[in-house]
């Protein structure tokens, strides 16, 4: 048994454990296993040899590499494992076999996909993430959640279908399905695979499944969902499309547009979903730059982001759990009854806003420097705008309207202990990897995990041809400029609020591009359905009538009792034969 263990993809083990958990009725035993599994899997991951195919199988004429670790997949897989460990703790107050099991299977599928060594294996786990995660939305039990879950599933599976199509082209071209980065869109399959990843990474216009589904998921579900799908897509982009210039611009747009939606959105879990989109933009932009520093920025940002975004979703989940709503209009003053949750939320908010001493700062600095040194002035300005935007919606709006602001009068209990524990651990990580290096602790821990360092170089780091340099986030310039940006933005908030220019929170649904498929698109589909329902029987009637008439005519002419038989050879038949002969001669004449 023991020799098998090093070849076991930890993600696969988690998928299996998740499926077992679904049928385990004993709450405490199940939760014990679910907390222990990510720990055990982390040990497997840490012990895994880098850069070799650790498990392969031959099937359908394909060579599947089930388990391969390099420094790029390692940091993503580790972040996923930490997230699933925290999520398992966060879910302990509920006794829900399906949710517990599917959360673990989903996390496992994302990890297994990250640690896959070829496109086919990636595709298989890509689809398992879609199918397992949908339960986290469905379990919310509302009609809205059910419908959103169906839309989510269709879009996610479509992404998988595109990926499968793309890999078929790659296979047809040379048969090599290994995860080598594309160099241009001229390569067969590259466009399809790009689109498949783009859907999961929630590119502009393809993003609405995220804001549609995540805020309707269960309390625990939204926390789990926030970590995996989109970051798996980020990993996939970093692996397959590093240095594609189009990603720089897509990423920049992605950082900017959610800012405007997040300002006017009332549902705070939806605000976090828009904020998620904005954060993904930074990572996509960095992958587009493609230099070692930028790839490090994308990976480091993803790692830090998984933790602080999870923390923010956890804090909103705790509020939703206790109060029953996360609508900004119905909240306020919760610091009085949920002070711990307030503190943890503020730590998450400061991390995502990239305040110095917090994880977002050390991660985002790399991306900003990579964009700046690449000479992309406009992109750099857009990212800087988006940084102030993040502060607005995630740094100020979320904690201010929930815990401070106008007191809505809710006097609830503090969040359950397990939730506080999960939030506390996440908050600890946010600070621990954000601090300057003091006595071996600080950002160096995160930087040691990065894909492009002197100690470990993933293939993608070499694609740009630039040398790997060490990066120092805590320079006086970085700290001062970041503080200027943030403090003046806070001043803007205070002044606008005093002047009554800050738009008040209002209940309502904010239209986004999903309107096109949810209103006109759905209307068209429904109309086509109605038309078909009426047209179908009518067409059947018409074709039946035509068929009957033709048959009657033919029978009248050719049957033993028909016209031709009655008249005998001499008359009708000879006329027909002459006509047919004439026709054949005409054809020969013109054709010849």
């Amino acid at each position: 048994m023991m020799p098998l263990l090093p070849a076991l993809n930890p993600g696969l083990l988690m998928v299996v454990m998740g499926l077992i958990a679904v049928v385990l009725p004993w709450q405490r035993l199940r939760q014990f296993l679910l907390v222990l599994t990510p720990v055990f899997c982390s040990v497997l991951l840490l012990g895994a040899e880098r850069g070799v195919d650790l498990a392969t199988i031959q099937t359908l004429g394909l060579n599947l590499v089930l388990f391969k670790v390099d420094s790029l997949s390692f940091i993503f897989a580790l972040a996923f494992l930490i997230a699933s460990f925290l999520n398992a703790i966060y879910a302990m107050h509920t006794d829900d076999r399906l949710q517990d099991g599917m959360a673990m299977a989903y996390a496992g599928a994302a990890i297994a996909a990250t640690l896959a060594g070829d496109l086919m294996t990636l595709f298989i786990f890509w689809e398992i993430t879609a199918v397992s995660s949908v339960f986290l939305i469905l379990r919310a039990g509302t009609k809205a959640a059910y419908q959103a879950a169906m839309r989510y599933l269709v879009i996610q599976v479509f992404s998988g279908v595109l990926l499968l199509n793309g890999l078929a082209y790659v296979h047809g071209d040379g048969g090599d399905l290994s995860l080598t980065a594309f160099t241009s869109f001229a390569e067969p399959g590259s466009v399809l695979i790009f689109l498949a990843f783009a859907i999961k990474a929630a590119f502009p216009f393809l993003h609405n499944w995220l804001q549609d589904a995540y805020p309707k998921a269960t309390v625990v579900g939204a926390v789990v969902l926030s970590a995996f799908t989109t970051k798996l897509a980020i990993y996939a982009f970093a692996r397959m499309f590093p240095g594609f210039e189009i990603l720089i611009w897509i990423g920049a747009v992605m950082t900017v547009f959610p800012v405007f939606f997040a300002v006017i959105e009332n549902d705070l879990r939806k605000v976090l979903s828009y904020s998620l989109n904005n954060q993904l933009g930074f990572m996509i932009c960095a992958i587009g730059i493609g230099t070692p520093l930028a790839i490090n920025g994308a990976a480091g940002h993803a790692f830090a982001h998984i933790i602080y975004k999870g923390l923010l979703f956890m804090s909103m989940g705790a509020v939703l759990y206790r109060v029953g709503t996360v609508k900004a209009t119905e909240l306020g003053g919760l610091y009085k009854s949920m002070p711990w949750t307030t503190i943890f939320c503020i730590i998450g908010a400061m991390s995502i806003s990239a305040f110095p001493l917090f994880s977002g700062f050390v991660a985002k600095s790399m991306t900003m420097s990579a964009v700046g040194s690449g000479g992309y002035t406009l992109v750099w300005l857009m990212l800087l705008f988006a940084s102030a935007g993040v502060l607005e919606h995630s740094g100020i709006k979320i904690p201010y309207f929930t815990f401070f602001g106008h007191d809505a009068g809710h006097r609830v209990k503090e969040a359950p202990f397990n939730m506080l524990l999960a939030m506390g651990l996440a908050a600890f990580i946010c600070i621990a990897i954000g601090l300057p290096m003091i006595g071996g602790l600080g950002y160096g821990w995160l930087y040691g995990l990065l894909p492009c360092t002197a100690a470990a170089v993933a293939d993608v780091c070499l694609s740009s041809g630039e040398a790997i340099k060490t990066y120092q986030p805590y320079t006086l310039d970085h700290v001062i400029t970041q503080m200027q940006l943030l403090v003046l933005a806070i001043l803007a908030f205070m002044l606008l609020k005093r002047a009554g220019l800050y738009p008040p929170e209002r209940p309502g649904t904010i239209l986004d591009t999903d309107w096109f498929y949810r209103k006109p698109g759905y209307g068209l589909a429904k109309w086509s359905g109605d038309v078909w329902l009426k047209l179908g029987p009518a067409m059947t009637r018409i074709s039946a009538a035509l068929f009957h008439r033709t048959f009657d005519r033919l029978e009248a002419a050719f049957s033993p009792r028909g016209a031709l038989a009655r008249e005998g050879l001499a008359t009708t038949m000879s006329v027909w034969a002459a006509a047919l002969l004439g026709f054949v001669m005409l054809v020969v004449l013109f054709a010849g």
Partner: protein, 125 residues
């Protein structure tokens, strides 16, 4: 945790009366809140905070003129550039909320999904 949904005599599901945001678990004020956030309730706090942030802002901008910063983008080295950009970006994002709200906001039940409270909240029991 979840029990079988309640049905009426016709077998239809009984929709629970969901008054949004009604706290169901009365908890009162947390003892820690006074210690940690008691200062928030002080009448002078908003003014003091504004003063503190204003002073810090001026200090940070002045630093630009004392130290010579280096930047990848040349115009970013101009004194107070980041401060100006942060203030402007924030104000733009927030002020854009007025017209965008008018343009894009519809009723809560626009898509027929006003009720999005998941089953695993305490608030119903």
């Amino acid at each position: 945790m979840s029990t079988a949904p309640e049905r009426d005599e016709n077998g239809r599901f009984v929709k629970a009366d969901r008054k949004a945001g009604s706290p169901v678990t009365p908890g009162g004020e947390h003892p820690l809140s006074k210690v940690l956030f008691g200062w928030v309730e002080n009448k002078r706090t908003p003014n003091l905070l504004l003063l503190a942030v204003s002073v810090l802002s001026v200090f940070l901008i002045l630093l630009d003129f004392v130290l010579h910063r280096h930047d990848y983008i040349s115009f970013a080295e101009t004194g107070g550039f980041y401060a100006f950009w942060g203030f402007g970006a924030f104000a733009l994002a927030v002020l854009a909320g007025w017209p965008l709200g008018h343009l894009l906001r519809r009723g809560e039940d626009y898509y027929g999904e006003a009720d999005t409270r998941p089953f695993d909240t305490e608030a119903e029991e």
